[in-house]
Amino acid sequence: MNAKKIIKKFIFMLLTLLLVSFLVFLAFAIIPGDPAVHKLGTQATPESLEALREEMGLNRPFFARYASWLISFVKGDMGISYSYNLPVGSMILDKLPITLTMTALAFMFVLIITFPTGILCAKHNGGKLDRFIVILNQIMMSVPSFFGGILITIIFGVVLKLFMPGGYISYTKNFTKFLGYMCFPAIAIAIPKAAMSIKLLRSSILSEAEKDYARTAYSHGNTTGDVLIHHVLQNAMIPVVTFLGMALADIFAGSIIIEQVFNIPGMGRILLSSISNRDYPVVMAILVLLSSAVIIINFIVDIVYGIIDPRVSQDD
């Protein structure tokens, strides 16, 4: 992985971001209909509609509108909400840390659970622990995160009373308690993803351990542990890294749903209400932000992948 490749991928990422923003803008420009009508209602006079369109800049050529929207967006001005007449930015940006924290916590849990378990299971393949975990995995993989959230609420909230269901505490008021509360939704999201990645890691390790290079390593006098850690693991991780990248993007997008279970005032709640209210600037802005996050995550995963697997480089 050299600098040239990274730059190439970075440029490609920017292009994709541009493409996505363009597609979203295009879609929202064409489909929902006339924003002036949305604001003033269908009873408004044609003159007032025309005046409003002029004011909103809707009569400019399409690409000019796209360009100015894009430039403002990047600067932080994401338009004005139809429903609240407030700048979209102010509505969304303070919710961003909530989503980010939850995503980060969930991802961390996935990593912490996956690696030790996957390695242990592969090492003791066929043993009691291994068989138990395999079965557990199958079940956990099938638990939708929001249902997991409900179950966690019931078990830890109602029965064990470890936390107050619905009792969200803002990060500005008390950061520790905020983190503590966020752990529960994070675990709900993490469980099915962790189950899938344990399954993947375990089977990946087992299949790599059968390969010829593992046999060569044994022929040098390595112990099973040595072969596992120094030879097999790096190879086995390759598909897992790819999966974790997708999982991270999934977690990010799926956080929207889990917010509803735990009564968290994040971006999801705003997104949902704006969809119901047809508040297009808000919907557009949130979708672009979420998509950008996913694209950036994929870029990072791509680079990590290139670091782990040297076969990926072509310039040689």
């Binding site: 060569t216 390593a217 022929s219 040098h220 006098g221 390595n222 310039d315 040689d316």
Partner: protein, 518 residues
Amino acid sequence: MGKVLEVTDLNIRIYDKDTPDTVVFDFDLSMDEGEIVGLVGESGSGKSMSALAIAGLLNRHDMEKRGKIMFEGRDLLTCPREELRSHQGKDIGIIFQEPMTSLNPVKKIGWQVEENLRIHTNMTPEERKERALKVLKDVELDNPERVYNSYPHQLSGGMRQRVMIASAMICNPKILIADEPSTALDVSVQAQILKLLKRLNRTHNTAILFISHDLSLVRRLCKRVLVMKGGYVVETGETEKIFKNPEHEYTRKLIAAIPNCEGRQDPIDKENILMAKDISVSFKEERKKLLEKPGRVEVLRGLNMRIKKGEILGLVGGSGCGKSTLAKAITGIVPYTGEIEFNCKSPKMVFQDPYSSLNPAKKVGWILEEPLKNCTNLSKEERQKKVVEALKEVGLDEYYKDRYPNELSGGQRQRVCIAQALMLEPELLIADEPVSALDVTIQEQIIALMQELQKKRNLSILFISHDLRVVYKICNYVLIMDKGQIVERGSIEDIYTKPITDITKKLLRDAGIREVSE
């Protein structure tokens, strides 16, 4: 000259569910210091199993090993695991058949070559690197520093095998086990690896156990040989003695199957069935950078050749010379410039790899019926009849038409391939390395089949191969190719006794033909 290894009464059984299946019976082997011993047999003979047992690599739960493997006074079969591990890599090295998969794809070569030093010595990193570079040079790799910093996928097959040898030899082991080290390689690279092993044996006094299915290779390298079949050692002794006077019937069969330089065919003088003039083929290089225009690689340059009716024409050259591309041009798979005149129906092809030339998802009968479905107007019954006839013609029972390719052996699959190629009754058959992937005894059967079919149907065959010994057995006339052009042509007799170009001479040497006749 002391004994370095003494294996007595080695028996290996595999337990499938609860019934044991013996794969190696009463195997005895003793090796002196610095001796090169050969172990010969077909796939399934037990030779690899025995070797893996000696190397301490047979540790599956479902395997039972009995007997003694004595190394330096210790029985490797019963000693504690740590002790076994201390010998592995330091005193006993092993190299395998497939150098690509035997190297870790994500680690640099230097790291892998040094591994034995890391495990068995207390050298510092600098000392290890120095040693590694030295041993890489020793195995005749140019630019050891560059190889040290490379990854396996950046090297060629021959280079990777040298790296494997370097890695196994770095601690100067007393024994080197070489399990089919050159089978997956080109004939000329094969020759180089053999020479290398011979040299290392001389300079380091390493005993080598050389395992192969190819008796002629073993003859060039080993003083003593063991012949195995079905898990038993059927014959053992000095190589030359065995060649001159084989005792066991199986040994005799193996020796007879070696394509050897006897038997000739008379050149045929008939009309041309194919005339190729000034054929050139070039391919676009893979795009390296997104906006750069890709260059072109010339594979065939202004090539001229002709095939006569009823002739079996050999086309020989090293890998990369363009022989497969010529075949593809003739069959129309690849675009070319120049002219090809056909005096016959469109030619059909038999391929090298019996495993990818038959559609795994279809039954044999369906595969054979396809050409008839697409190109003839026969009714279903007529087609089925022809399918059964075709199977019989290549020596297979009607029963096989309902089987899937993965249920057939390599030799059987190749028969089906030949049958498939003949379904539309072509006059010209292109055989692209049709026997290279087969065991020696099977090779002989397929060659005999092709000769029989040629006589029966008066076929013309373009027989492509990298192995001059096989070509000698079947062809009348030979074309030698190099770098996209025909560099020499002549009757089978002339090429073998009066080669003109260096390339031909090298091919003959690599095939071991000159050495044997000298």
